[in-house]
Symmetry: C2
Subunit: 205 residues, 2 copies
């Protein structure tokens, strides 16, 4: 494909998804190597899990134990620092509402920076983003006035926006995260990186 003719990579994530954190760390460099931009979508796995009759992987017997081990190993495999937070998973609607407010009012780059900051806060520094004080502190570090952040997450406009984004994701068949859509092709999971790389390098297979 000619430069400038490519479509963006749609990337769906939840701030409490460890594999979303890992994928978010490699995605931009991979996209740039293939002249692609990334369009991020903060969603709530609670909503997609309900639609798909699923639960968090860590909630299942046997699979839960494996998942915690696999997450940390998968982070090491990618050379990404990680530390599982004490409480996990956590509700992330407030961080996600701030994401959509930034995307709408400041653009894609500001939203992407917030996504990175939020995911790293959770999975490197063990920050509980569901705690209002912690989330306001993270906002301040990210150049957002803490009171404005709180006003955003309490604003019916951004509550409705997040709900609409969730509904659209579910309507598009998205049941988990990270979830990528590239040229209409869906890829689920941090572990689809090799397939994504081949797709970007040489197209459909």
């Amino acid at each position: 494909m000619l430069r400038g003719m490519t479509t963006p990579i749609d990337f769906y994530f939840d701030f409490s998804s460890p594999y979303s954190y890992i994928a978010n760390e490699w995605l931009d460099a991979l996209a740039a190597r293939h002249d692609r931009s990334v369009r991020r979508h903060a969603i709530l796995l609670g909503a997609t899990f309900q639609a798909a009759e699923l639960k968090s992987p860590v909630s299942y017997p046997l699979k839960g134990t494996y998942s915690m081990r696999d997450f940390e190993r998968s982070a090491r495999f990618e050379g990404v620092p990680c530390k599982l937070p004490e409480v996990f998973p956590i509700p992330t609607q407030n961080a996600a509402r701030i994401f959509w407010w930034l995307a709408e009012t400041c653009g894609e780059d500001a939203a992407a920076a917030w996504a990175r900051a939020g995911l790293r806060a959770v999975f490197v520094h063990g920050v509980a983003l569901n705690d209002a004080a912690a989330l306001k502190a993270l906002a301040m570090q990210s150049g957002i006035a803490p009171d404005e952040a709180e006003a955003v997450w309490n604003d019916p406009v951004w509550k409705a926006r997040l709900k609409r984004e969730n509904d659209q994701a579910i309507a598009a068949g998205i049941f988990g995260a990270p979830y990528f859509v590239i040229d209409g092709e869906p890829f689920w999971g941090n572990d689809r990186k090799p397939q994504i790389e081949r797709w970007l390098a040489s197209g459909p297979f």
Copy 2:
């Protein structure tokens, strides 16, 4: 590690698991490159799913549709022929009992050949291994007298053996397939191939 000092790769599979089929196609060559042998374990996903409160991926809304597409794409990614059978998943206890009978009475290689033949029958040729006539035909093609095959799958000895193997797998934390244990480290899924390759090449990471 010195040659001859390595431990085998334990590989757990179900005859009705598409990702087990794909992994079974690349596993022996990968193991050989790293001077490892493979010890196969036929199990029933129905039993491990029950223990883990899971269902087949294809049984979930949204995830089911994705899984069918991902299976075929993952097979193409590995360069492995595939065609999803019309009825899927199917009960595979009879094929699994024959596997354990072969492992016990003829050794690892005969059991591995049966595993390969059975998985290819399902995922290349669309054979319904739960059909007695089809399974007897496959036995004959594999050099096993059809009546002997039927006697084996009806024999309480091999029923008990399969049950014991399932119970041991669940006790070891195995909840899905393909599932690999290498030097005590668990890897779940065909998509853990890159991590397995690194582990075999350079040890724990």
